[in-house]
Every structure is written in C-alpha cells, then in structure tokens.
Chain length 337, copies 2
DNA sequence: TTGTAAGCGTTATCAC
DNA sequence: GTGATAACGCTTACAA
C-alpha cells in the first residue's frame, strides 16, 4: 500500500509536507506542492481514511437504519438520505432491521464499534429504547426517523400520522361508509398508535361509535396475513371499507380480498398511508395519504449533520412533515349512505 | 472514549491481556479473564474497529454499489447482499450510482479510500471500465453484478438475459403477435445488448424479419419518456405488443399507453424483464421474466467473501441465474394470428 | 500466563 | 516553509 511516506521519499520532502498538500493546510511553496502532487498522481496515491479516522476521531460515515428495505417508502427515504450524505462528503453505512429487535441490537453494536459520526435511525418500535439509550451512552448523535420512542429525547423527523389518518377516514365517511375497519401495525409502534387515534377521532367527529371488532393488528411488514381479513369479513356486520395503516398492509389486504373473489372498490373500499412507488405509476389505483419520503431522508441527514456540528447544546428539534391525500380509485361512494 | 488501557488499569493487567480477552487468543487464567470481562461490562467498553482495521489491514466492510435504488430488482438484491454480509460479520457501505458515471466514479474514490475488503459492483455500463480498473489497481476484490463490462475479467453474477428475452418474445409469437416492439435500455449496458439479441433470435427462429423501426432505446431508469412510445405508435404498422427490457421501462410504457387511452392488453400487449415487487402482489398483472434478485445479492456476497479469502489465485467464476417466466394478464392472443 | 515495544497511516504540535 | 515527534487505539512478535 502506498503511504504518505512513499510519496515523501520520492518527492524529497517529509511526510508532513505531503499531508499538508493533501489537506491544503499550512504554507507550502508552489514548487513543492506541484512536485508532491505529481508524485501522488504517479503512484496513484489515495489517502487511507481509516488512519485518518483514527487520529481525527471522525469517520465521515453515517449510519442509516431502516425497518423494511422492501417498502418503497423506506427505499425512498434511503435515497434522500444517501443523496444528502454524499453531497456533504459522508459515506453511508446501511442496515435493515426488519423490525426485529435482535437484528436492530446487533446493528447498534456494529454502529458503536465503527464509531460512525451519526445515525439516522428508524426504530423497530418502543422496544428500541434500550438501543437508543446505548447510542446516547456512547455519545453517538442520532436523529429518529418516522417513529417516536417514548423515553427518548432526540431530534425527530416525523409524519403527521394522526392528521393523515383522520383525513383518510373522513374521506371514507364523506362517501357514506360507516363500517370502516382499521388494519394496523403493531401497537408497539408510535405511528400505529397515532393512526389509530386519527381513525378514532374521525369516527367520533362523525358520531359513529368506535367498534373494537373492526380494529386488527398485524406487522407493518406483513402482506401475507389472511387471518385478519377473514376475521373482519366474518363479522356480523362486516366493513364496507378498510383503512390500512401502511402501504404493505394495504397491498396484503387487496391481494387477500381478490383471492376471495371480492373486488376493490366494488365490494370493499381500501385506503392507506404511504404511496407505492412504481406500483402507483403502473396503475394509480390506491387512494393514499402519501408521505414525502425523500424529504424524510434528506432533512433527516441535514438535521443529523447540524447536530454533529453543534453538539448536545443545540435545542432538540422535531420536523413534522404533512402527508398528501391522493384520491384515486380504490374507494367507491356508498349508495345507501 | 474508553480504551483497552482504561480497562487494563482498572483490572490491574496490561493492555495486551485485555486484547487477548477480547479476541479469545493466547492463554489466560480464568480469574483474570473474568476480572477483565467484568471491568469491560462496567465501563461499557466497545472495541474501536477503526483502530483494529488500521493494524489488521482489514475493515470488515463490504461496499454495495447499485444503479437504481428505486427499482425493486435492486432493492431485493440489496436485501440479499445485506443479509449475507451480516451473517458473516461484515458491515455494508452503500452506494447508488443512478447509472451516472460521475457518481459512480466518486463512489469508487470513496471505496478505495475507505479500504473496504471487497465490492459488490453493479456497473452503470461499459464506461465503468475505468472505475473497475481503478479497483484492480488498488487490489480491491470485487464481484460484478448483473452486467458484464467488456475488458474486465472478474467474478460475475449474471442473469440469463438473452435466453429470458428469447422466451418472452417467443411467448408473444405463440400468441400470434408479429409486430413486436423492443423498448430497450442503453446499448451501453450489456444486458440491453443481450436482451436485444434474444429478441432478434426469437424473431429469426419464427422467420420474422427484424425491423429497426420497432427497436428504441431509453434509460433503464426512465419511466417518463413518452417520445419512444409515440414514435412506435406513429409507425405505419404499429406494434401489437411491446417487450420492455426491464420493469421500469414496462411501467413507463403502460402508463403512457393508458394516458393515450390505450388498454393493456386489449390494445397492446406488454411483457418485460424483472418482477415488480409489491406491485405484483397488489395486482399480478404484468407478464415478466422474473430474475432471482435475492440470489443475485446473496450469492454475490458469498462469491466475494470466497474471493477475499482466496486471493487472486482462485479461478474466476461466473454464476448465471435463470429467470422464471411469470405468465399473467398483460398479454392477449391475437385473433388473426 | 502475562507484559513490553513497535508499528498500522495519518495529523497536531512545536521547533527550526 | 518545512520537518521531527508524539499520538490516535489496537495487535503482533517477542521477552519474561
């Protein structure tokens, strides 16, 4: 491996001078600078950032931890994060927790050991508390993405889960639906709780009693659970509409409905949180509350870099990003409203 | 930051003993081992992998470079790669080139400087030659994913582009289509050339003349180019079917067709390479040659680790993964076959 | 079984 | 302007 000493020797200077040329620090005569640069080119020298990290105590590396790389919402978040990190000269260490606390914990170990400069962290759920506390103990700055974790104070980039949910449900109500099911993520996740609140709020405003039978919980990552749907369809008064708390759940419900010979929206209407990426281009069908996923990532990295710069003195900040209602064709008005 | 010296002092041993306990090397009495472990727990010690990397000349980090994080094919590749890397204790540095040679070049700089142990590299195209040569110069092992680059000899994980294309086109021919358009990626990309060959082979076998007018090139990442479709539709004898060389192009074509009031498959049939992720679950509509994306990533990392282990002596290997024809409903038989 | 010394490739500090 | 030296946190080689 070529080091600054190899360069130094060949250019007849000290290693220190080479270092100065590389970093553009200190005073250097134009002549030696040129000579050193020349030799660096010749030998294809590339600085060893491991060595640099060790002495500088800075890795120029951020970590991005998401919960579902299969979900277009998160891949778009990743894209925003990655673009922004690159723009500022940071590398991106990537992790996918699959909403699995064990995996998440392993990633935190790895993150701490790697001494990344900061972490963009989409928590698996409330049980991520320990992991985030561990980061705090090691003074690794982080910004939490998408989900709050009770007990953790930090910078946050969140969506307007409650508000978005309320608007989706109100949309269904306006079209005459009265039996609206909520297919939700785990109550262990803050967004699931908030979306449920939004759902309940909308019903309350419309003077419709909240019916526990209409609310089921699956994992945000599961599009294969048919039991939930069967339970809903088996009710004495089955729902005429389903509010799925995220895009993956919605896809699962629609698939299951179709497999049972039911049509969307003719037999059952469906709406959900988060857009679908390519699927929405292919067929703009599903009515959704679309979150600005790219912004989640981009603003998250921006906040993170500011936090790294400023240290813990800086006041904690929360960015709340609104979602946009995309009215498409997965909902039909109910004739006998 | 807590170092082995802090542990050593508090446990009344030398740093070396601490190192031995951490790495389970050398002989250590059970008593001291216990004492050292105890202190490490107390102080929440985590080894500094930067320091370790510097002395070991090994970062335990792989780099994954893909061309389109928006494409479900590549996110699934990433998932396979990530899972496998983690299983073997490797971290994953992530990059998204967007098929942009400039971005790709920047990533290669970053990769070389970071001294990752190996790279899983999906090249932007033939122009990636320089970048791969640069990796070779620095003796960084890599496995090329999805696309061959003329002039580079390396381990490879490829799909059966030619064969898959041929089968897709033969499927269309069997159903009576004679005017079949090819909407292809850039000829700068090996898969685009091979898919074109497969297309041509199928036509030849069926004694149908190859018609240059029916072949257009767009970027594999572009689902917004409407000009291509308009050109095809404007032909004296427009196509009755479109073979899109990847999923993104297919989505773009279908969108554009629908915007022009044309229906798939009633007016035009569409098939493509690569499946669509969630969109295919939501609505198994598009007939595709599905590639085993997860395997691309998983086997790629496996090959890469073997290469890292074995060094350049090991014979180069190519894994060719077959694709699976998924017959769905985006194709209709032509009555007047 | 444990410890000492040197070195991984870089930069900060101080001296010339 | 330029250079010598120590330090970043760890492990290898050798000594005790």
């Amino acid at each position: 491996m070529i080091t600054i000493y190899d360069i130094a020797k060949k250019a007849n200077v000290s290693a220190m001078t080479v270092s100065r040329v590389i970093n553009n620090t200190g005073k250097i005569s134009e002549a030696t600078r040129k000579r050193v640069k020349q030799v660096m080119e010749e030998l294809h020298y590339v600085p060893n950032s491991t060595a640099r990290s060790l002495v500088l105590q800075k890795t120029m590396m951020l970590s991005l931890l998401i919960t579902d790389i299969t979900n277009p919402f998160f891949t778009t978040v990743a894209r925003g994060a990655e673009d922004t990190a690159r723009k500022f000269g940071y590398k991106m260490l990537f992790g996918n927790s699959d909403e699995d606390y064990t995996k998440e914990s392993e990633y935190v170990d790895s993150i701490v050991s790697t001494r990344v400069d900061g972490v963009l962290f989409a928590p698996a759920g409330d049980g991520s508390l320990d992991h985030l506390t561990r980061l705090q103990k090691h003074r690794i700055p982080f910004v939490i993405l998408d989900r709050e974790v009770p007990g953790i104070e930090s910078d946050l980039v969140l969506g307007d889960s409650k508000e978005g949910a309320r608007r989706l449900v109100e949309h269904l109500l306006q079209l005459g639906h009265r039996r609206i099911a909520l297919v939700n993520g785990s109550p262990d996740v803050s967004t699931a709780r908030l979306r449920q609140q939004g759902y309940a709020d909308a019903l309350k405003l419309a003077d419709i009693p909240y019916d526990d039978e209409l609310v089921v919980h699956i994992s945000y990552r599961d599009f294969r659970d048919d039991g939930a749907l069967d339970r809903l369809l088996g009710l004495e008064r089955p729902p005429t509409a389903i509010f799925a708390a995220n895009n993956v759940l919605a896809v699962g419900m629609i698939r299951a409905l179709r497999e049972r010979g039911l049509r969307v929206p003719d037999d059952v209407s469906v709406v959900c949180f988060d857009d679908l990426g390519l699927a929405s281009v292919l067929d703009p069908f599903l009515t959704v509350a679309a979150q600005p996923a790219y912004q989640f990532g981009a603003l998250g990295v921006q906040m993170l870099l500011e936090r790294i710069e400023a240290g813990p003195e800086l006041q904690r900040r929360t960015i709340m990003l609104p979602s946009e209602l995309m009215l498409r064709s997965s909902v039909r008005p109910l004739a006998d409203a």
